[in-house]
Subunit: 546 residues, 2 copies
């Protein structure tokens, strides 16, 4: 496939930018009463699920959308999508299929169903208190040890849905920094009632191996001779041999399917801690929610297809209007980890400089993806969104109902939250002229008028769901996964490998021995790296506070 | 002051970009053995404090630095700095001085010393268990209710230093989302032993007022007639009248100094929860650490001044090399909230489109500031940092010693952590050519060579401290505060106001009543805002899962 920039549709959009630069969204709204009803998509599902994507507050008109859909056609996005669902090896550099969607099918294939059945039996046993530790205690704390995709999904979903049931506390440890493990273990009810889930495809990730081994030693310290590894450790892996060497029998191993990249793996055995946390019924609903979005992505026409629209708008801003970042602002404190989680899904998939065929791209790929929950972000960085010089296209995500329904929380909390969400997108779109300021504040000092002016014309999507249920969260996550897919297909890159991660890990392995106090030769490394190693060693030797 | 872009020094730098585009950092290192020793600054302080800024892995040469220092001179950054320390009203739009540095002076002026004395007495009382709730119980949980600057600092510092002492658990609630308050209150040991700190300059911020009022009602529910507001609520505010109406007597009010913008306020009474958490001695050391950096910023020559250098490099990348984002990657899990916290300090200060004089800028101000802890980020978004098309200048922050020194954590955790930090900056600088790949992997498939290539030449700073003590954290935070100051002075903007936040809040107030079920008139709002309000109301009415 040629570079996207070589297509007529791409060049057409490049031209179209000039026309769009002279528009302002507030005029587009004034001129077209139908703008909202034209630019939105609604999707429903089981359990009264309901969601709307409003994309009317984007810097587009009918022509822009037509040209973007034409680009999708020219790049064969739909064909590529169908290949993914069919199980073609679209991860060409690694020769693999990409089948996270198969994990959430209603009637999954046998290899998926088998793992699910094994997970279910285990989850029920742990939740019912039938799984006991070496000294006979029920499990009170489950600690997922993993990093990257083996961490981000479990952490985010456990945090989001934590009030869905279960009396067991879930923790996640990812960082090799001893502060992470020490602090988490300090929060548990003690080694005797801890269950560790070692999540690592190959059981070879340095961080995970080290954290697992230190955790095992910690258990031994506390339970001494009574300690039985198999009663406190299970593994999510496809390397049962190493797991067994560690002391985890095959019965405690849950297969980490090779056709699923880490960052898309939460839907299978990597979600084990989530299933324990929310219970099996809720876990199934989580998968069903993802499956509902899969069906929408597969079947809805381009023009009414949420992931297609969001992905195309992503390219529009990245490649044509040249905005390098994209913010996700969830107006829900339960989603405080969502933008962190999605950072990996998006940036690890899209941060590529060559196409599938190995050709250097001559256009931008990937956004810097960032965000915070609202209203927190309003009191932090929205100043820049409203009055800064950099345009940040943003998705505002909210829920009509609050996930917490404690009686003592007045309804007003949620109405204020939603009012703020809508007020932000309204202001970003409309802005405020000096004339507006004068009308609102007749006594405003003349020299402050410009300081109180907002340019407006800043693009946002709004996604509104009924409520943050497991089903809704599954749906939301699948939506963003597919958005990444669409962008990758337009750019012609492989969204599913990650060769940019390997070299740093390899170099770390060669730096580590240089910290040995007896080492004085540093090879041909640059003066900065050597200088820093020396400085660290100097600081480590003397320290009255150690 | 004219626009920065009108100065000869600015134009000179614009020209200089062309020369620099043809360099690669790895060649600069190869050609100059002194590069590391030339481009670093070391600073020491009390309690064996030691820090180094290595800026040799930046896309600069001697000429670049000379031109940047010349720009700083031309913009009068040093003079502006001196005005800030002297207490001149440099926040011109609001007619205020900017005196967060005065809060950390060793012998503070009377108004500061008085508040400190009041804080100290209160902190000792709470920590000793002498402050008791309505039913006679000692305090077990302190909940800071505030948002923006009244939240970010306390949350980050409490999280970073939480193992420094004290048996009381600190919580923070910021979001108006009821999920935030409900979840935090659910984690406390119960209303009888809770102490709430209401942190709000004017006691009028909607989020804070609502969370405070719901918390008071929650206490009433649990303690009924025994409940005495004054025993469970204190305020950090300069509005004692409203505090008193709420039930908080003047004795329980700690002054929120008007000469300190919220995002710089952690150093005074806003840090009350921190002082309770870490103890008064540690709190004093935290202030001393900040003061050490203030003295460095005030006294070190431009060329050896950390905040000056970091601020100038920020402008170099933002305005001349056109990189719109900046990442802070702390290789320390205790600093997991640092980039979030600093997002406000930086983006709310620098996201401005007019100069102090109200003139529209014709250059970029502010970066999108983002980040994560390492090594977590490596397994999430470093793919894009290494192989993406967008250059992200980044600060790597690490500590020679681990903050946690539990005996059961092997030393290797920390050495691996540091090795990874150094390996990342090494790889970002050097990159990897197809030839390098062939040498390392002779059997590599030819079509994969490009996929395994890294361009390198990507800029980073490295900051290494001895250990994450209160003193070191104070120092680090003051460093970044002053970096923001330097950038603002170059751009000629007012870094201390935030007019871009007001309009959204005002519009939210007018949207809220529209959610009333009897409202059917929506005024002249745009079709999107009205359509979304209607949709939300539809979803709120019917919900079998509510």
């Amino acid at each position: 496939m040629p570079l996207a920039s070589k297509t007529a549709e791409w060049k057409d959009l490049t031209e179209h930018v000039h026309a769009m630069k002279n528009t302002h969204m507030k005029n587009q709204f004034a001129e077209d009463a139908e703008r909202f009803s034209k630019y939105n998509v609604r999707l429903t599902g089981d359990y009264s699920f309901d969601v709307m994507l409003d994309y009317s507050k984007n810097k587009v008109n009918d022509e822009t959308m037509k040209k973007l859909f034409a680009l999708a056609k020219a790049r064969g996005v739909e064909t590529h999508r169908d290949k993914m669902f069919k199980g073609d090896k679209i991860n060409t550099t690694e020769g693999k299929a990409v089948l996270h969607t198969a994990l959430r099918e209603k009637s999954p294939r046998k290899e998926v169903a088998d793992v699910k059945a094994k997970m279910k039996a285990f989850v029920l046993k742990v939740r019912k208190g039938e799984w006991v530790g070496s000294t006979g205690k029920k499990i009170t704390d489950v600690i997922n040890i993993g990093i990257g995709g083996s961490h981000g999904g479990p952490e985010m979903v456990n945090n989001a849905l934590k009030n869905q049931g279960g009396s067991i506390t879930i923790h996640t440890v990812s960082n090799v920094d001893g502060a992470h493990l020490a602090r988490v273990l300090g929060r548990t009810k003690g080694a005797e009632s801890c269950l560790f889930i070692i999540t690592s495809r190959n059981m070879s990730t340095t961080e995970t191996v080290l954290n697992a081994s230190t955790s095992k030693d910690w258990c031994k310290r506390h339970m001494k001779k009574e300690f039985d590894v198999a009663k406190h450790f299970v593994a999510v892996t496809n390397n049962n041999t190493t797991a067994s060497e560690f002391g985890i029998p095959a019965d405690n191993c849950f297969e980490f399917w090779d056709n699923v990249p880490g960052r898309f793996s939460i839907w299978g055995s990597v979600g084990l801690s989530v299933a324990i946390n929310i219970g099996w019924g809720n876990w199934e609903q989580f998968l069903e929610g993802g499956n509902n979005m899969d069906n929408h992505f597969k079947n809805a026409p381009l023009e009414e297809n949420m992931p297609m629209i969001m992905g195309l708008l992503g390219c529009w801003y990245r490649n044509f209007l040249k905005h390098s970042t994209h913010a996700i602002l969830c107006y829900d404190e339960a989603l405080s980890k969502f933008s962190h989680y999605y950072q990996q899904v998006d940036m690890e998939s899209s941060g590529k400089h060559v196409t599938m065929e190995g050709e250097e791209v001559d256009y931008e790929t990937g956004h810097i993806l960032w965000g915070e929950t609202g209203t927190n972000g309003q009191h932090a960085f929205h100043q820049l969104l409203h009055q800064g010089t950099e345009i940040v296209p943003a998705d505002f995500v909210c829920f009509a109902k609050c996930i917490q329904d404690e009686e003592f929380i007045p309804k007003r909390h949620h109405q204020v939250l939603l009012s703020n969400c809508l007020a932000q997108t309204e202001v970003l779109m409309k802005g405020r002229t000096p004339q507006d300021v004068k009308e609102a504040e007749p006594d405003c000092r003349g020299d402050l008028l410009k300081h109180k002016t907002y340019q407006g014309d800043r693009p946002t999507n709004t996604l509104i769901f009924r409520k943050l249920t497991p089903y809704a969260l599954g749906n939301l996550m699948a939506l963003y996964e597919h958005k990444v897919f669409v962008q990758g297909a337009i750019w012609g890159i492989n969204s599913f490998d990650r060769f940019g991660v390997d070299l740093g890990m390899a170099n770390a392995d060669t730096i580590e021995p240089l910290f040995d106090e007896n080492t004085t030769e540093y090879g041909d490394r640059d003066s900065s790296t050597v200088g820093l190693i020396r400085y660290i060693k100097e600081l480590q030797v003397f320290n009255p506070f150690a």
